[in-house]
Each structure stands twice: as structure tokens, then as C-alpha cells.
């Protein structure tokens, strides 16, 4: 067993274990932290696969951004020390069953299928290539999706602000809307 394999299994243990804990823990703050670990585990996989850029993005955006966002919102909405309400046992059972069945089915298919593996190991992609192709406007360029995503991000940002804005008139409007419902 090579070191690479050992690292892989450790990463797998970290990722899956903390993911499982993240979805089962009844302490919401803890589950947010478990999620953070899981995300970091994912970044580890990207490193392991030699996709350093993606790993960096993962750490910056996910572990650094989204996780923090989630933790903030937990702070905003949750009283400390309060446990999440328990879910019905039957619901848990059927969810687990569904998830397991889905997992089994997928794995069955994956194992049965033989992917056309390319054995040449090129190593990870160079960041320069990524940048070049991302912004090129030729056949294989991703300039257009890039622009679209940037507009989407902008729109999302504005949307977040509008939704979360705590202006008096708006609040009233929402309140009256609720009342009318």
C-alpha cells in the first residue's frame, strides 16, 4: 500500500465521516463544523488528484466563504445550545432506505460499466491553461459562460441584498402580504 493510497483512504474517511456527522448531528453548530471538515476533505481530494487550483478555489469559496456564511446564519437564527428537533423514526428509516437503494443502484451500475480510462498521467492542469481557455472566445473557450455566471453572481448579490434588506416599508409590505394570505 503506497502512501498515496493511505492518504486517499484517510481523506475518504475524513470526508465521508464528517459528512455523515454533518447530516445526523442534532447540534446545528456542530454539524456546520462537520460540513466544514467535509469540504476540506473534498479539497484534499482535489489536491490528491493534482487539481491544485480547484482545491484552492474549494478552500477559498467553500470552506472560507459558504461555510462561514452558514455559520453566520446559524448564529443569526438559532439560539445557542438548542438541539434540533428530532425527526420521525419512520421518516429516517425510509430516507436511509431510499439513499441506500439509490447508492446501491448507482454503484452497481458504476461497477458494471467500464469507463474508457486514459492511462497517461498528465499531472494536474496548469493554471495558465485554465485562465487561457476560460477567457478565450474561440470554439473551446468559456468566455460566454463566464460572463453569464458573473452576471448571475451580480444578480444573486443584488437579490440577496434586496431580500435581506430590513427597510421599514418593505417589511410592512411583506407583513401585509402575509396577513392577506
Amino acid at each position: 500500500m503506497t502512501a498515496s493510497a493511505v492518504i486517499f483512504y484517510l481523506l475518504a474517511l475524513l470526508t465521508l465521516g464528517s459528512a455523515l456527522l454533518a447530516v445526523t448531528s442534532r447540534h446545528i453548530f456542530r454539524s456546520a463544523i462537520y460540513l466544514l471538515f467535509s469540504l476540506i476533505g473534498m479539497a484534499g481530494f482535489y489536491f490528491w488528484l493534482q487539481f491544485e487550483f480547484i482545491a484552492a478555489v474549494q478552500i477559498v469559496v467553500y470552506a472560507g466563504g459558504i461555510a462561514v456564511l452558514i455559520i453566520f446564519s446559524v448564529f443569526l437564527t438559532q439560539k445557542s445550545g438548542e438541539l434540533l428537533p428530532p425527526q420521525k423514526g419512520s421518516r429516517k428509516f425510509f430516507s436511509a432506505l431510499a439513499a441506500f437503494c439509490g447508492f446501491a443502484l448507482c454503484m452497481l451500475q458504476i461497477v458494471k460499466h467500464s469507463f474508457p480510462l486514459d492511462d497517461h498521467d498528465f499531472g494536474g492542469p496548469r493554471v495558465a491553461d485554465i485562465g487561457q481557455q476560460m477567457l478565450s472566445i474561440d470554439d473551446k473557450g468559456y468566455a460566454l459562460p463566464f460572463e453569464v455566471v458573473s452576471i448571475l453572481l451580480l444578480a444573486a448579490m443584488i437579490g440577496c441584498i434586496v431580500i435581506a434588506m430590513k427597510s421599514g416599508s418593505r417589511q410592512e409590505a411583506i407583513g401585509s402580504e402575509n396577513a392577506s394570505k
Binding site: L39, Y62, I130, I174
Partner: protein
């Protein structure tokens, strides 16, 4: 147990995906549901990278998709949290079953 390869990675991502699904089904708190969705998105990202690495190593499309997914996930998370906070303001709770004014 041989060297970890595509199949191992796919196992990880599939497991992660269904862990996310399980969380999505069982959680009642909106934030935890959002967390489950993040897990699912991550598993997809991992797939993209893995296929990029093992099947078409000379291409970069998997990378791009992952990047876009991360970007959109970030936007989505931001929006979702804005909605969640708003919901919390109006209902004082973020339980999924609490918001049912628009039922029927």
C-alpha cells in the same frame, strides 16, 4: 485492494451524494437542508474532476464545470441564506413545515 482510481473516487462521490440526499430528506431545519445540498453539489464536483482526470486528462472541461458549479453554489447559498433569514424574521423559525401559507 489496489491503487485508488476512478472507481474509488466514484464510490466516494456517490456515497457523499446519498449522504446529502439522506440529509435533505431527514432534516427539518432549513440551514441543515442547505448544508445537505452543498454536500450533493460537492459530490458532483468531485465526479467532474475525477472524470476529467481519468478519462479525458488532456481536456479542461471538468475543471470549468466545477468552477462554475462552485460559483453558482456560492450564489445559491447566499440567496438561500437571505431567504432563510427573511423567513426567520417573519415566522421566527426556519422549520420547513412552518412555512405553509401557500399550500393548496
Amino acid at each position: 485492494m489496489n491503487t485508488p482510481g476512478l472507481y474509488h473516487i466514484l464510490f466516494i462521490s456517490t456515497a457523499l451524494f446519498f449522504i446529502g440526499v439522506y440529509g435533505f430528506f431527514t432534516r427539518r431545519n432549513l440551514i441543515t437542508i442547505l448544508m445537505s445540498i452543498e454536500l450533493i453539489l460537492n459530490s458532483v464536483c468531485l465526479n467532474f474532476i475525477a472524470f476529467n482526470k481519468y478519462v479525458w486528462p488532456e481536456k479542461l472541461d471538468g475543471v470549468f464545470f466545477t468552477l462554475f458549479i462552485i460559483a453558482i453554489a456560492a450564489a445559491e447559498a447566499a440567496l438561500a441564506i437571505a431567504i432563510i433569514i427573511n423567513l426567520y424574521r417573519s415566522h421566527n423559525t426556519i422549520d420547513v413545515n412552518a412555512a405553509e401559507e401557500m399550500k393548496y
